[in-house]
Symmetry: C2
Subunit: 219 residues, 2 copies
Amino acid sequence: MARKTKAEAELTRDAILDAAEAIFFEKGVARTTLDEISRAAGVTRGALYWHFRNKADVLTALIHRVESPIDHLLADIAEADAGERDLLDRTRQVFRRVFEELAEDTQRQRVFTILIQGTELVGEMQPVQDHFDAKGQRLVAEIRRVLERCRASGELPPEVDPALASSAVHAFVIGIHMLALRCGGPLDLRCDAPAMIDMFFAGLARGRLPRPENHTEIA
Amino acid sequence: MARKTKAEAELTRDAILDAAEAIFFEKGVARTTLDEISRAAGVTRGALYWHFRNKADVLTALIHRVESPIDHLLADIAEADAGERDLLDRTRQVFRRVFEELAEDTQRQRVFTILIQGTELVGEMQPVQDHFDAKGQRLVAEIRRVLERCRASGELPPEVDPALASSAVHAFVIGIHMLALRCGGPLDLRCDAPAMIDMFFAGLARGRLPRPENHTEIA
DNA sequence: TTAGATACATACATGGATGTTTGTAAAGAG
DNA sequence: CTCTTTACAAACATCCATGTATGTATCTAA
């Protein structure tokens, strides 16, 4: 085969990564073969093994293509930290921007989705995934009804949107699960998680707590 | 081989599930072979294939062993909904209990960890996972410093614990990513995510917003 | 008591993905 | 201009996990 120039070689490398990103995204990493990737990139496995050592190497290269958003966050926070006034509000804006920028960057979205994909539930396990998703939707709907009643009764301030808040509760609960259960999870289920729940609900109620004797400690 | 009685057969089935749970937990689903599972259970693959159709069937059986915590949640919320007063506070207690009970149930913890495991980063991808974990820790530390300054300056009420709140922000951000990026993600990055960030920070500040003109809309 | 079903173990058949090796035509260095 | 290196393609070797088929001893029901 005709040897390519350096620029062309870099082009095929990118093509391989693009193909891997697309196939990993829709089939999951474990169920994707190196032959599929190279074939989708218009080359053979020979090319792939020239540029990468194995599948894991391809994946790490994919990750390195999108600069870590946490780095981004850290830099922005440091910048916000340098200012003098409205520090909290500027930090809020930093976090807003993280998601606004992620919304524009579909490549980063795909790579993150690949990394997040739990247990490769795609394929044979798809019904399980769908089942869990449906349960989540029902949960959000229930919480929303509760929060609407709370706002009507004045337990919740009127500026809190029940629809948004219910989704927020869902996200919060999911996030706590992630941090507590995933490897190196720095969160303690017994102590941190309940305290964080209290904090979140106190924030929703703007700090207006009900009767203090109603607070149950761990039995 | 001597045929077992029904009770004994059910025992080997449980042994297979126990073994699968342990090995899935430490090696991930994709990198675990059915031979490992049956061997760890003290039987051969013949027994496994008698009780289950394939690996996915084993995994679904594992999931069904722990009743869905979302069902739990839904039931508890419905129960709380039935009451008359302090609805918000009782809902808060329901969510507290979810994590308190999860903390006691190590089996459910393992199954959930198996399901959550992202892209089977175990094995060759472990350094990537560790790298991300470290980044997360640094992020929490930075946020904590910012929140401490905010509390000192009065932007944050004194009852908000910066250490806890920083971890909460982390969990919240992770959860939003999950809901927005994962299959069937019901969250919109452009609209919902920033709004939820605003809501969270407003809750931290107990609704005390800074200058309103400081709120940036999506550029 | 016996015929069939059960609960496995064992052996086999197969594919399919990986890693490696070899071939090769052109690029690039001197 | 040639010699080496590059950037792959193509063929090979190998293994390993899966699925299935078969064997078989016991349980169980009639």
